[in-house]
Every structure is written in C-alpha cells, then in structure tokens.
C-alpha cells in the first residue's frame, strides 16, 4: 500500500528541524547577547579604573607660583596594573600645551569640568582605551585648564572576553545539545503515538473492521474517529453486498432446480437426437449455474462464519469418512473411486460446518477434473502437523497459475468443458486461514494435482 501513497516530507523531520533549528538560533542568540553584555561590563570596568586614575592625577593639580604642578600619587598608575601587563600611556595638558606624558596621545578635547570622556584610539600600534577629564584652576592672572588623558591597552580585557566567550560558547553548545536531545525525545514520543496506531491498524486481520477502542491523544481523536466511521461504513457495505449475493444465489438456485427437473422430464420424452443434445446442453448450463450459486452461498457462509468461529474438538477422520460416504454415489456416477487414507483420529479445534464445506469443495473440484476410472485419495496425516491431502490423478495444475488459483472466480486455463465458478479453492483457503492454517497447491511427480490443507 505504502508505495501508492504520495510522500510529502516527514512530520518527525519537520518537527525535529523546527525544534533543533530553534535551539540553534536560541544558542547563537544567547552567545551574542551574553558576549555583548560581558563586553560592555568589562569595558565599563576598564573605564571605571581609567576614570579613577584620571581623577587622582587631576586632583593633584595645583597652581604654585603661577605654574601648574602635578604631584600625582603612585597609585594613579599602580591601579592600572593588569594580569596581562597592559601598557599605560598618559598625557597632561595645560590648555593645549603638553605639560607631561606622551605626546600625540589625545588632543585635549573640550570636556566639561567634572565629566569623563571615553574613546577608543590607536596609539603606538596598539588599540587603547582613553579616559579624559579636565579641571579649571583659578590663577591670580587667568584661569588655567588642565586636561588629563590616561590610556591603557586592552590585552587583559581581550583575555577576559575570550575566556567569557569560551565559557558562553560552551554553555551555548550545551544548551543546544540538551535542547536537541529534548527535541528528539519529544518528537519520537509524539510520532510514537502515530506509529502505535499504525501498528495496531496493520496488525489487524483482513476481516477485522471493528472500531479502535484504545485511548489516543486528543489530537488524534478526529483521525481515529474518521477511521472508525470509515470502517463502520465499509463493514456495513461489505455485509450488505455479501447478504445480497447470498440472497441472489439462493433465489436463483430454487428456480434453477425447477427448470432442471423440467428439462430432465422433457429429455425423457424427446426422441429427436438434436433436441436431446440441446436439452443436455441446457441441463449442463443449469448445473453449472446451480453449482456456482451453491458455491457463492458457501463462500458467503464461510466469510460470515470465519469471523465468528464456533470452535469445538472435531475428529477429521470421522468428518471425512462421513463426507466420503456421502459423496461416493456422485463419484460412482463418474466412475471415480474415493479412497480415504487415515491412521486414526485426528482431532483439531475448529468449526465443523466450515471444515466440512472446505473439504466438500475440494473433493468436488477433484471429481470435476478426475478422469474416468481413477481414484481420488484423501489422506489424513497427524505428524508433524495435522494435514489433509486431496489427490487426484488428473492433469494437475498449470504451474504458472498455481499462485493465482485461490483468488475468487479464477479458474484454471485447461478446465475444458468442466463446470464450476472458480470459488472452490477460495473457500478452502478462507477456511484454512480462519483456522490459522494454510492451503498448499502442488503437482505430484507421478501425475495429478494435490491440495493440502495444513493446520
């Protein structure tokens, strides 16, 4: 069936893709956000220290004898020590004149008193962070504006950021792995419900059309409901058509019997050879129809009973012995002998009516194809399993057709003028299946067909 269904994507893959894709996106987002945040905090940390250094230098500025003096404390630069031994630069300006420190570090910008300005710049082939502040000293003659810039390279900052990045990347990967595992677990649990439903549908017998009663998740209720409705309708229409066939067969059989008896009576009276021939053909056609109707009835009955087997312990030996006895007169009319080979009782737990029906159809079939003055052997074996062979001495099955013969209304290609509906083997096979057995068709090496029912 599967190859006929058009496959469009996979629910499991789609679900897994959405979940893992989402997790990956979240992990990347986590990395970017946390790293950005960490970078900001680390930069703030460096800025704070630079700012403190600038303040301590600026605070030491005094006007002495009309000149700006800065006797800044050792701590001003000491506080800038880092584990990565970052380089430190500074510049002290009076208005726009460099008083001390590194030239070209920063032209004194107009930073309002009491405010800090932070910039990133290049100095001596290194990226530095610069903090600048200024202060106005009121002198006797004129005010002096002292600006101080302190710069520091960012090696320690980069190390810290790298460490944080590594950790956050680790967290991200861990988060992704966990989310992926959860996604797969979630996906397979969800899809598992569908698989379970599929399994229980698949595992059903071909005749089982009863509704699903096992609990299912609410999302699957509509599906299961539709499935149940569909099966109910299917069962209904199946039952109707079988009833219809049985009814039709029954109704056809009775008038046919009447027509046959008239035809037979007429045959006794008619003398003309061509009329007799016509009547014989007519009777053969009636027989064929009647037999077909009988088999249709049998088939309908088998189909119905197969669902509700009335099992009991049955001795196949006794059952077949009675059947052979009953069918012997018909066989004798065709000059065919029925021979039962049995080693004693063979008990199976089954439906007597069905089994009888199956064997009758098989013997009937064999009678149909058996040449005159031959024997049909019915052999019961009990080891290794209970089996019944019905063997004739006819032409046997056409090898190419053997696997198709059990289908409904299929008849062998060399039936010649034999009458039959083609349902005999179907009935026997359905009965065998209803009893958990199989039917095997074979040709005997010495000639003749053999049908084996294996229980």
């Amino acid at each position: 069936m599967t190859d006929e269904v058009v496959v469009f994507g996979s629910l499991r893959n789609r679900l897994a893709m959405i979940l893992t894709g989402g997790a990956a996106l979240l992990a990347i987002l986590l990395f970017v956000v946390v790293r950005g945040y960490a970078a900001q905090i680390a930069q703030e940390g460096q800025d704070n220290i630079l700012s403190a250094s600038v303040s301590s230098i600026l605070d030491s500025a005094v006007l002495r004898d009309g000149a700006v003096q800065l006797d800044f404390p050792y701590a001003s630069l000491s506080m800038l020590s880092t584990p990565a031994d970052d380089r430190v630069f500074y510049a002290i300006y009076e208005d726009s004149t460099l008083l001390s420190g590194y030239d070209g570090l920063e032209t004194p910008p107009l930073v309002p008193n009491g405010e800090r300005m932070f910039t990133s710049a290049q100095y001596d082939n290194a990226t530095v962070r610069v903090a600048t502040a200024s202060r106005t000293l009121i002198g006797a003659d004129r005010p002096r504006r002292v600006s101080v810039s302190v710069a520091q390279t960012q090696d320690a900052l980069a190390e810290t950021l790298n460490r944080i990045s590594r950790n956050v990347a680790g967290f991200g990967v861990g988060f992704f792995a966990l989310a992926t595992a959860l996604a797969f677990w979630g996906t397979s649990t969800t899809i598992g419900q569908l698989s379970r439903l599929t399994t229980s549908v698949t595992r059903r017998g071909p005749q089982d059309l009863s509704p699903f009663l096992k609990p299912v998740p609410s999302e699957m209720v509509p599906l299961v409901g539709s499935l149940n409705t569909l099966m109910a309708r299917l069962e209904q229409s199946l039952k109707q058509s079988e009833e219809f066939i049985a009814e039709a067969a029954h109704r056809v059989r009775t008038p046919l019997a009447t027509v046959r008896s008239y035809a037979e009576a007429t045959l006794q009276r008619v003398q003309k050879q061509e009329n007799r021939d016509a009547l014989r053909s007519m009777m053969r056609a009636i027989d064929e129809s009647s037999r077909a109707a009988g088999q249709l009835l049998d088939h309908a009955m088998v189909t119905f009973r197969a669902e509700n087997l009335e099992r009991e312990d049955i001795d196949l030996d006794g059952l077949l012995r009675e059947l052979v006895q009953r069918m012997s007169p018909v066989a004798e009319m065709r000059d065919v002998a029925l021979h039962l080979e049995s080693a004693g009782p063979a008990i199976i737990h089954g439906d007597a009516v069905l089994l009888q029906n199956a064997f009758r159809n098989l013997i009937d079939n064999a009678l149909k194809y058996a040449p005159i003055e031959t024997t049909i052997t019915i052999r019961i074996q009990t080891t290794p399993r209970i089996s019944v062979d019905v063997i004739d001495q006819g032409r046997g099955f056409v090898p190419d057709e053997m696997d198709k013969l059990a289908g409904r209304f299929v008849r062998g290609g060399d039936t010649g003028d034999h009458i039959g509906s083609g349902l005999g083997l179907t009935i026997a096979q359905d009965v065998a299946h209803a009893h958990d057995g199989t039917m095997i068709l074979s040709n005997r090496s010495e000639g003749g067909a053999c049908v084996t029912l294996l229980f």
Binding site: L70, Y74, L77, S81, G101, N125
Partner: protein
C-alpha cells in the same frame, strides 16, 4: 618622552654627548657568524662569566659588551634602538618605561615567574637590596646602625666625625639612585629626614656604586647610603674593611632586568641570551652567575622587591621628577 629625554640630556651634558663607554669589551671570535651588542649598566666583571658560558655553548657568537650608567643607557638606547640587541639595566623604572613605550620585543617562549617579568618582554634576573655600607674601622666604639633611624641618630651625634664623609647617589646622574630614592620616599618620611641629615653633613654625591665603594675602602668617606650591597660583597678587598647593612625597617630591593630590543638584528640569538641569563640565575653556581639570584633576597613572607608595574613610571613623569629633584636638592645641597 621627548621632555624626559631633553631633561636628562640637560642634566647629563657630559655623558650624553660623549661616545665613550665606562667599559667596552668583546667576547668570542671577532669573525663569528652572529654578533650580539649588549648595552648594560652592570660592571663587566659580573657579566664576563655569564657571557663566556653563553659563548661556550654557541661558538658561532661574539658578544660586544658595552657598559654605561643607567640614565645614559636609557638616553643612548632611545636614540638608536637598532644599534643594540639586548639591554640590561638595574633601573627598573627606566627599563619598564622602555618596554611600555614599545622598545622591547615579546619573548613568548621564555618561562619566567609572573612577578619577575612584564609583558613577556622585560625579564628580571637578580634581586639586589640597597644597603648602608660603612667603614668598619670608623664605627669602632659606635653603635652599628640597623635602621635608617639608627643611622640618623649616629650621624647627628657624631656630626664632626662624619662631616663630608657620607656618600650617596646623585639622583640627577644615576637612574638607579633615582629609583632607590623615590622608592624610599614612597615608603617612609624617614628618607627625607635622613637626606636632610646627610645634606647637613656636606654629602658626597656619586654616579655609581663602584666609585662609592672605592672611596669607602680608601677612607675618603665612612658611610654610603643606598649602595648596591652586591658590588661591595663581590670585592675581595672589602671583606674586613666594610660592613654591609640591610636596613631592617624597610628593605628597598631592586631587580636587575633585561630586554631584547624591538629593532634587534638577531632576535633569535638575543632571545637565546636572555633565556641563558634567566636559566643561569636559577641554576648556575656562584662562579657562573656572580650576581644574587632572583630568590636570594626574597622575604619568606612575600616579595619585598619593587614590583614591575606601570606605576614605576610615576616618578619618571616630568612634573613629578621636577618636584622630587627640587625637594631632594633642597634637602641635600645646603649652602653652608
């Protein structure tokens, strides 16, 4: 930068314009494939065994060893960084500033304790305390001072004996002297009182430890403050004549350091030399390495040496330097 250079140039006219060296010596084969020029403030006698053991391992190297004072060394190197491969100096502040200003090359393959290196570029390889060295004979009958305060007392009480007989570094001439003085001043006010006492006794000012010790031995001075004890110890003729005192109130301990010039023509050999140097200081015997090793004067409670950190540049600031030298001059140079 320029200003400091100008300042030092102004302070040291005779050194800055002279191309004479305190000492210049070439080790190894003149025609060797590699030649290293080492600019150093350390006397050749201390470095000769170190260079000889280096050359013994690498016969294809010749070493030119150039000695000058710490302050002048800084000036010369800043002028022509491409002329020198390795720079060795006891003035930690100047060395650190050279490194901070980008004159030193990173030597990332060298393994050295974090506290004894800066930026993997500047490598300390000795610890040498500043000492009070006295002429033992002159102190006969006097208390041998153990602290700076003791020294102040002794000098005050015996002003007549010590007048004109106390020596110390001229911080205007010696980078190391300036480092010692600024670190002392950072540590305690006692330093200024001592300077005033020494000043009142007509202090003799020196450029270098070696000369101070010479004068001590010869009796021209009786007390030298902030001398390198290692120089005094190294001289055989001083054993009986001099007593070396490491002040117990607070130690001022310098670390001699080496860096490889960023403009070196032979980075591999230069790095190998610094590697040899720091290896020898921890593994070498006293004969191979005549200077005190890094661990020699470390306090068991923790390091007492001056830290290698950017703060060393504080007193190199032009304005700070002006203020400090003015104060120092007013303390030490007292017109009678």
């Amino acid at each position: 930068m320029r200003y400091i250079t100008v300042l030092i140039l102004a302070l040291l006219p005779m050194f800055a314009h002279s191309q004479d060296w305190e000492d210049r010596q070439v080790f190894g084969d003149q025609d060797a494939r590699h030649s290293l020029r080492i600019l150093s403030s350390t006397d050749t006698s201390f470095f000769a065994p170190i260079i000889e053991s280096f050359i013994a391992q690498r016969p294809d190297v010749s070493v030119e060893y150039l000695v000058t004072g710490t302050a002048e060394l800084d000036v010369r190197f800043r002028q022509n960084p491409d002329l020198y491969d390795v720079v060795i100096s006891s003035a930690m502040d100047l060395q650190l500033k050279l490194t901070n200003d980008g004159f030193a090359q990173r030597l990332d393959s060298l393994v050295h304790p974090d506290w004894a290196q800066w930026r993997s570029s500047l490598f300390a390889f000795t610890t040498e305390p500043a000492a009070i060295v006295i002429n033992t004979a002159a102190f006969d009958g006097l208390t041998i001072p153990a602290t700076r305060q003791d020294l102040i007392e002794v000098l005050r009480r015996n002003a007549d004996l010590f007048y004109g007989k106390v020596g110390t570094y001229d911080v205007r001439l010696s980078g190391l002297g300036y480092l010692f003085a600024t670190q002392d001043a950072r540590a305690s006010e006692t330093f200024w009182r001592l300077m005033e006492v020494i000043g009142s006794l007509d202090a003799q000012l020196y450029c270098c430890s070696g000369e101070m010790i010479d004068d001590l031995v010869e009796g021209r001075i009786l007390v030298a403050y902030n001398v390198l004890g290692s120089y005094a110890l190294a001289r055989a003729d001083t054993k009986d004549a001099l007593t070396i005192i490491l002040p117990s109130d607070f130690p001022t301990t310098m670390m001699r350091s080496a860096l490889v010039s960023n403009a070196t023509s032979d980075p591999i050999m230069s790095e190998a030399f610094v590697d040899h140097l720091i290896r020898l200081q921890s593994e070498g015997s006293a004969k191979d390495f005549p200077l005190p090793s890094l661990d020699a004067f470390q306090d068991t409670n923790g390091r007492s040496s001056i830290s290698l950190e950017p703060a060393l540049m504080t007193y190199l600031d032009r304005l700070k330097q002006q203020v400090f030298i003015r104060e120092w001059e007013s303390a030490i140079i007292q017109s009678p």
